[in-house]
Symmetry: C2
Subunit: 167 residues, 2 copies
């Protein structure tokens, strides 16, 4: 199996982290992976807010049931939809999903663990308030990142449930 | 640079293909990569329709300005949102974007070229008619796949435009 497919199949959501930090160089490589995602019309509607600051992560942690993860990770990246850069909501959001996946795979390939947090979207405007971002920025996900302190198992639907037509 | 990040940075949309076909084994590896994408609540709302048949690709090609690509590729994969498996439209679509990106990266890693086609979504219901799929399946993208016959250039916004906050 080639290393790209291996990374895709072995990546898991990691919710427990060691105390080891993420270097600026590694963070840049992860964001760079997100930057090179494809998007409709190449409009690149994704934007990133990087939160290392423990106080800010503490404030964010009060907005989600998964606050422990935001407090214990090395840093988190809030991934935003920059609405004025968009042209079609569905297609823009698909591209942002591709961008997030690039970052998760890059993180995994560098030995980090990460989890894609979505439940915090219930408090989108409060997150924007903490980060000082206006309504042009719509929160899509928060990625929590750090050195993994667990190796979770997961599963997926069988392939024959997914392939609904072959012709 | 590690091979995962290298694939992420080097992948480009490929719209010109040679006549070489895609083996069943390679197609399975690409779909398997899509299968292992993350999704909210692990609901995996993606479904795949594989279209090798030249007549069916010819019919689809009349529904888009990019028909030449659908006629000249080795095969295409229509990626669907299975609406009854969803729980939150935005989050489901983000997951499908991650799924598509996994397949594009897997294809690239295996030496294939691929392009993510979105304009055909203007004719969603006609595509469903050709493929014999009902309204439970909402078309999200068509991926055209084959051996690349071009090496396109592309560009992205500078990183300092993407990082809107760092704290």
């Amino acid at each position: 199996m080639n290393p790209v497919i291996e990374a895709i199949l072995e990546r898991r959501s990691v919710r427990k982290f060691t105390d080891v930090l993420v270097s600026g160089e590694d963070l840049s490589a992860i964001l760079e992976a997100g930057r090179w995602a494809p998007s409709g019309l190449n409009n690149q509607p994704w934007r990133f807010a990087v939160i290392r600051d423990a106080h800010a992560r503490g404030e964010l942690s009060r907005l989600t049931h998964y606050g422990r993860i935001l407090r214990s990770c090395a840093l988190c990246v809030a991934v935003y939809y920059h609405v004025p850069s968009g042209y079609n909501r569905d297609k823009d959001i698909l591209g942002i999903g591709a961008c997030i996946q690039n970052m998760l795979l890059a993180a995994h390939s560098l030995g980090f663990g990460a989890v894609w947090l979505g439940e915090i979207l219930n408090k989108k405007s409060a997150v924007n308030g903490i980060l000082g971002l206006d309504d042009a920025y719509e929160l899509m996900a928060v990625i929590a990142l750090g050195r993994p302190d667990e190796r979770p198992e997961s599963e997926r639907r069988p392939m024959d449930e997914l392939v609904v037509k072959s012709m």
